[in-house]
């Protein structure tokens, strides 16, 4: 059963949020202009002040509700999604999967251009029916109380969702954890998946420690291996924590909106192509909207748990054919993204049809570089229509 859904956060929840923000006990911060110790205190205080005093949730809620939202339950797991019908002669169904710490709303800028290309200077033949679910345990796909829901399980759920919507075959797109969901669709459900487009490449067993050999990095990729190693060394403690004890972290982040903001903000700044100025890529409103979505849906704990589920229930191959991902694949990498794997490896792992590297943009592609993403998605799937 699929039910229409409208986002209507109660006034009491927003009032409580503001009251908590105003009552924040900020710890002292010092010697941290470069955010080396983590989220900078002065910036966080300013953002928290803005969130409590100036930010208008209702305006963003209205913008979200301009799209058609639905909720359904699949295998006892609540799933929220946007369905935006394409405007063109033969729209292609496209399921788009977000990542962490993202929400479905990180895809907001690409919905229009992908569903109605003609209205955005494109060709109506490139129209898609766009389906944007919230990952299980994220946003309005909550509460998640079932153990074991990892990205593989999510791919199974997506197939059921698309069937319920009447799409027997479909295209898939994603980044971050969404790229793993998407690649799993291309691996296990290659018959149903017309093609996949991802902007984070990696072996499906990556979180269990499987990484390509260093010798695979080729021309133009000389710095990538060092970049990956630096990320693992300096920036990945959050991931190890979330993969082992997400619940120990959840108490603070579900009770303190400033704590939640600090946790998300550090990643938004570090992982985006912002040169250290997070607002070059995300406005204060963008940041506050993401944080409000996590706050009002109380989903930080379950979203962090997605790492633990990936670790505890390691990816298992559905078949041993090569390439692992048989669906036609496009990889679009971004120079400032956190992990970049080599083309030579990707050519073996995926049925690789398209490979592009963008000189600008970081990890949060649909927010940072929606234009580049839209162009690449249109061009790739045009060949598969």
């Amino acid at each position: 059963m699929i039910e229409p859904f409208k986002i209507e956060i109660a006034d009491a929840v927003i009032d409580d949020l503001k009251s908590r923000l105003r009552g924040t006990r900020f710890p002292a911060d010092f010697g941290n202009d470069d955010w080396d110790y983590g989220t900078n205190g002065a910036y966080l205080q300013e953002l928290v002040r803005y969130w409590a005093e100036e930010y208008d949730w209702r305006a963003h809620e209205r913008a979200m509700n301009a799209f058609s939202h639905f909720r359904t339950v699949i295998d006892e797991i609540p799933i929220h999604f946007i369905q935006a019908r394409g405007n063109g002669p033969k729209p292609m169904p496209l399921i788009m999967s977000h990542g962490w710490p993202w929400t479905f709303w990180d895809l907001q800028k690409v919905i229009g251009p992908l569903t109605d290309p003609a209205a955005f200077g494109g060709d109506a033949d490139d129209a898609f029916d766009v389906i944007i679910p919230s990952l299980p345990g994220f946003g309005f796909s909550t509460p998640l109380t079932t153990p074991g829901v990892n990205f593989s399980r999510t791919a199974d759920i997506w197939v059921t969702l698309m069937q319920r919507l009447g799409y027997e075959t479909f295209a898939a797109q994603g980044g971050d954890f969404g790229a793993f969901v998407t690649a799993q669709l291309g691996h296990k459900y290659a018959q149903k998946t017309l093609g996949i487009h991802i902007h984070l490449a990696g072996p499906l067993g990556m979180i269990s420690g499987n990484m390509p050999d260093a010798s695979m990095f080729g021309p133009g990729e000389e710095n990538w291996e060092a970049g990956n190693a630096a990320f693992l060394e300096q920036e990945s403690a959050y991931s190890r924590l979330q993969a082992t004890k997400p619940q120990s972290l959840a108490y603070a982040l579900n009770d303190s909106p400033a704590g939640l903001a600090a946790w998300i903000l550090e990643k938004r700044r570090r992982w985006s192509d912002c040169g250290g100025e997070v607002e070059r890529r995300f406005s204060k409103d963008d940041l506050c909207t993401t944080m409000t979505l996590y706050w009002v849906t109380q989903s930080m704990g379950t979203s962090a748990r997605f790492y633990a589920e990936a670790k505890r229930h390691p990816w298992r191959a559905a078949h041993d054919r090569q390439p692992v991902v048989e669906a036609p694949t496009a990889v679009l990498l971004f120079d400032k993204d956190i992990v970049k794997l080599p083309r030579r490896w990707a050519e073996k792992y995926y049925n690789l049809q398209r490979w592009n590297v963008s000189a600008t943009g970081g990890h949060f592609v649909p927010m940072e570089e929606p234009g580049i993403l839209v162009q690449d998605v249109r061009t790739f799937f045009r060949t598969l229509r």
Binding site: T24, Y37, L241, A243, T244, S248, Y251
Partner: protein
Amino acid sequence: MENGLITPFTVHIEDSALHDLRRRLATTRWPDELTGAPWAYGADLATLRRMTDYWRDGYDWRAAEAGINRLAQFRTEIAGSGVHFIHERGVGPAPMPILISHGWPGSFVEMLELVPLLADPARFGGDAADAFDVVVPSMPGYGFSDRPTAPGMTPVAMAEIFAGLMASLGYARYGVQGGDWGATVSTWLAKFYPERLSGIHLNWIPGGLQPAVGGEAPVLSAAEGAFCARMAWQAAHGVSTHTGIHGSRPQTLGYGLNDSPVGLAAWLIDKFRMLADCGGDVESVIPLDWLLTNVSVYWFTETITSAIRLYKEAQAAPLKFCVGERILPPLGFAAFPGEVAVPPREWVARVYDVRRWTKMQRGGHFAAMEQPQILAEDIRAFFRPFREQPR
């Protein structure tokens, strides 16, 4: 406060802070939990709720405060940093001065039961000749010591401050004792001031200890090889994940923990349960009141962020030793069976002059809270040969 001026100190938390804590506890937004998976993903919801309900409705901070204040406390300023410390004079013919350093997630509160056992052994069935003058500082950034206001408060800097503290108390020669970060600070004190230390007693070998291996150093024993392999595996698999986040982006975590008392309690009590020798039932070895007093000290002093920043600061001062580089004062080590990682004796002997190595019968990482009596006995026995004869 002027440098060297020592003023008596009494813990007193304002009523307004108590009310604010109760209000925050009462308005906690609890996360949900997976069905049938207590502790599997971190601190267990039902346990946390019960503990923090008690924190709000049953626990008596004023009683805990009175208990703390039964021990003589002071504050002084050393090298620009305000230091809080317990200073209990020994009851005996010739008390020996001893400096006891705590670690994380503990605080000076860990030592409240140990201090009287060491200061006045006769009162607890021991020998007055074993009495110590006991000094228990709060580490800078912890408890009622000042929080640092600039980067660089490494364990080395702390060792310098503690050496200054002992000097300002007039102790030219003393013993040191410690576990967790306190073991690291104690080791640095022994390295820098061997002539001042009559001995060093540890109940934890610093996890960051890097003795010389290879080259002219002795060949690794089988036990050492296995220990190194286990440590490498744990590091690669992120077994103690809190050290990763504390050591890289502590400030990011600090905002939530300083703003949510339940978040703070979850973070700390999870570690107590993980590291104590308790078979999963932390309250069987450390009373809930003690756990909550420790959490309350972090909460009221707003020191969780400064405390966990130590893990990052410490990276600037690795405990790395060259061939032949030694810690000179004699070492006594109490090896508690529930401790997370006890290296082989020969590994420790590469650096320390190991004179005593006691296999303790029970107890884990929080020896002073879990097993104060047998820890006190081992400390007394170790230092007995190194006491100066009464004049």
